[in-house]
Subunit: 193 residues, 2 copies
DNA sequence: AAAGTTAGTTAGTGTTTACTAACTTTTTAT
DNA sequence: ATAAAAAGTTAGTAAACACTAACTAACTTT
């Protein structure tokens, strides 16, 4: 999927709207106002509202994917890679608080099949990546092997999610990066052989 | 807060509607249909829609609170109590899948101050309880003390949340209780001194 | 038996929603 | 320079939304 300039502008505006007041703040009216043109103009660029949200998800998925790929391709060991991925994600999210709102809105998307599929795919791939990193770490001898990779991945993902949730509930005022560091310290101790 | 019979029936119907198709499926129209009476009749029992959702949250909060209190009052040690609380929660949620949808909808409530306060309070109290249980366990010498209770609580809550999320994304078809058991096994190993 | 209360009804309001048809302006290609 | 395509406009639609006014049947209280 490739986006035009205008489409990216619209995706960006959508992200801002959601970041300001949640998914229900993303209406065609508000979006048009933010873009300072009229509502029908939006339909020149996206078939319907679902496609805008779909675009938002795909666009940022690509951004995150690129960041994560660089880390995976580096010559760090698995444990260091997990740390780097974690830090990258917290940094990306701190810069784009709106994304959290989107990710946390799986519920709202659940009965829009197009969107729920995308969200599911994102979460699924993320889990797979973490699992394989953990397995690498176990093979390298840096991560304990008395708990299987699947379970350890649950712990990692859970830690990330809870940390982000706390940040959101604090009104984005707590220091997400600092909390992320703390989380990593904990995970490192728990995971070491 | 005390509820009439009819209010509880309405709360129950709301829970079902949300469970079927998410929060956005809870409309006055659908609710009236499910109750098989007309829309205005609902307003004899609740001031507005927000109060219905509020009622739903409070009603189930009470149910969970009662269950958890029994566990806290028992003569188990802290580690056993954490295990019992975990299992109780997974069991309660397996029986009331709709509740998950509500809990996972914090985002949708975030900009309705009444509801966001309630959700926040629920999550906050839950965290506090887990933290104090962990501290008890640390004092009893059953839980490692090289990681502070706050961080360990993040891990517990994260594990719960991720497990429930996976279950939901599986369309409520995976075995939540079994996944809960696995989670506990993992936590037990990780937490032991 | 009269008066009041509770819990329902019918019929409707105003607002917001996503979206469209028809027209105009601007940009691009030849 | 002109034709075509792209990107905007105005004016509107139908459907969904939460909610209300006015009325009534059926109980309860006194």
């Amino acid at each position: 999927m490739i986006f035009t300039k205008r489409q990216i502008e619209i995706i960006d505006a959508s992200k801002d709207l959601i970041g300001e007041k949640g998914v229900q703040n993303l209406t065609i009216k508000n979006l048009a106002k933010k873009m300072s043109f009229t509502e029908p103009a939006l339909y020149r660029h996206f078939k319907d509202k679902t496609q805008i949200l779909n675009g938002l998800l795909l666009f940022h998925r690509k951004a995150i994917k690129n960041g994560v790929f660089k880390i995976l391709d580096s010559d760090k060991n698995a444990l260091e890679k997990i740390e780097a991925v974690l830090k990258f994600k917290f940094a990306h999210i701190e810069k784009n608080p709106a994304l959290v709102m989107v990710i946390f809105s799986e519920t709202s998307f659940q009965y829009c099949s197009v969107l729920s599929k995308v969200v599911r795919k994102i979460l699924d791939q993320r889990k797979k990546k973490i699992i394989s990193l953990i397995e690498n770490g176990q093979n390298e001898g840096n991560i304990r092997t008395d708990i299987n990779s699947q379970q350890l991945a649950t712990i990692v993902l859970g830690g990330i999610r809870t940390t982000i949730l706390s940040w959101r509930l604090s009104g984005f005022e707590s220091d997400l990066k600092a909390e992320g560091e703390k989380l990593w310290e904990t995970l490192e101790i728990l995971f070491k052989k």
